[in-house]
C-alpha cells in the first residue's frame, strides 16, 4: 500500500532528485531538471536545468542549459544559457556560458568565458531583459499613454488658456494626473541631454552656453507647464 503511494507521489514530482546519501558515478544524461543533494561524479549532460543544492557535490564535467550552484562543483560547466553561483555556492573549474551570475558570498576559482563579448551585443541584450520589466513597472501608466497623446496636443492650447481659465484647476488636475505619467517619459530624455551639456559648459562656457538654453528651454517649458498644472 505504501509503495503505490510513493510511486504515485514520485510521479507528481516531475524532476529528478539525487538524495543526500546517494552517490552516482559515471555518465548522467537527461532532458529534465536535475536536483543534486548528494554526489554526482563523472559526466553530467542535461538539456535543462541543473540545481546543486547546498548539500550537493558535483565532481563532473557539466553540460546543461542552466546551472544553479548552491553546493559544491568541481569541474567545468558548459551552459547554453546561464550559470549562477549563489551565496552558498562553491566552485572550482571553468564556466562557459553567455550569462554568468556570481553572487556575493559565492566562492569560485577558474575561468569564465561568456563567449563573444561584443560591445553591441550586451547593450542590445540588456534592453531585451529590461523590456519585459518595463511594462511590468508601467502597467498603471500604460492606460495613460493612449490618453496622454491627446492630452499633449490639448496641453499646448491650455497654456494660452491658463491665464484665462485659471478657475479651471478643478478639471485640470484630472487631466494632469494622467498627463504626469505621460509627461514623465518626455522629461527624462531632456534631463540626460541637459545634464551632460551643463557638464560641458564649464569646460567651454562661452561657446557651450548658447546650445544649452535651447535644450533646457524646451525641457524647462514643459516642466514649467507640468508644475503649473499640478499646482
Amino acid at each position: 500500500m505504501a509503495t503505490p503511494k510513493e510511486l504515485s507521489g514520485s510521479n507528481d514530482v516531475n524532476n529528478t532528485v539525487v538524495g543526500p546519501s546517494i552517490l552516482i558515478s559515471g555518465r548522467l544524461t537527461g532532458d529534465e531538471d536535475l536536483t543534486v543533494r548528494g554526489r554526482v561524479e563523472g559526466e553530467l549532460t542535461l538539456s535543462r536545468t541543473l540545481i546543486v543544492e547546498p548539500s550537493g557535490v558535483v565532481k563532473a564535467n557539466v553540460a546543461v542549459r542552466n546551472a544553479i550552484v548552491s553546493g559544491v562543483v568541481v569541474g567545468n560547466i558548459n551552459a547554453t544559457e546561464s550559470v549562477e553561483l549563489t551565496r552558498e555556492g562553491r566552485m572550482v573549474g571553468d564556466i562557459h556560458a553567455p550569462r554568468v551570475i556570481i553572487v556575493d558570498g559565492a566562492s569560485f576559482r577558474g575561468r569564465v568565458d561568456m563567449g563573444d563579448v561584443e560591445p553591441g551585443r550586451l547593450p542590445s541584450q540588456r534592453p531585451v531583459v529590461a523590456r519585459p520589466a518595463a511594462p511590468v513597472t508601467r502597467p498603471s501608466a500604460a492606460p495613460a499613454r493612449p490618453s496622454a497623446p491627446p492630452a499633449r496636443p490639448s496641453a499646448p492650447p491650455a497654456r494660452p488658456l491658463i491665464p484665462v481659465a485659471t478657475p479651471r484647476p478643478a478639471p485640470a488636475p484630472t487631466v494632469t494626473t494622467p498627463a504626469r505619467p505621460a509627461s514623465k517619459p518626455l522629461p527624462p530624455p531632456p534631463p540626460p541631454r541637459a545634464e551632460p551639456r551643463p557638464v560641458a559648459p564649464p569646460v567651454e562656457p562661452a561657446s557651450a552656453e548658447p546650445p544649452t538654453p535651447f535644450a533646457l528651454g524646451a525641457g524647462a517649458k514643459k516642466k514649467v507647464v507640468v508644475k503649473k498644472k499640478t499646482r
Partner: protein, 107 residues
C-alpha cells in the same frame, strides 16, 4: 524521507550507491547498490547489477539482483537475471527469466 528520483528522461551510465530509497523512472546502466529500497517504475529501465535491501520492480530490469530482505516483481514487469533474496514475490502478469535463490547463506 529524502527521496531520490531518477526521472524518466534521465540516463545514467555508471554506478549509483547510497543509503536511501531510490526511485527509477528513467534508465540506469551499470551498478546499483543501496542500503534501502529500490523502486523501478513502469517507465524505468535498469541494465545493472542490483544490491539492495528491498527491490520493487514494475519496469524492466536486466541484471542480477541481490536483496537482503525482499524482491517483488510486479505485474507487467520484465526481469532477466538471477535473483537472490530471502523473500521473493512474483505477481501474476510479471515476466521473469533467470534463477531464483532464496537460501541466504549469509544470514
Amino acid at each position: 524521507m529524502a527521496n531520490t528520483v531518477i526521472g524518466s528522461s534521465i540516463v545514467i551510465d555508471g554506478e549509483i550507491s547510497g543509503d536511501e530509497d531510490l526511485v527509477i523512472q528513467g534508465t540506469v546502466k551499470g551498478k546499483i547498490s543501496l542500503k534501502e529500497s529500490l523502486y523501478v517504475e513502469g517507465s524505468g529501465v535498469v541494465e545493472a547489477d542490483i544490491e539492495t535491501q528491498n527491490v520493487e520492480i514494475a519496469g524492466r530490469v536486466t541484471g542480477n539482483i541481490v536483496a537482503s530482505d525482499k524482491v517483488e516483481l510486479k505485474t507487467d514487469c520484465r526481469v532477466v537475471g538471477d535473483i537472490k533474496a530471502p523473500r521473493i514475490l512474483i505477481a501474476d502478469g510479471a515476466s521473469f527469466k533467470g534463477n531464483v535463490d532464496m537460501d541466504m547463506k549469509e544470514r
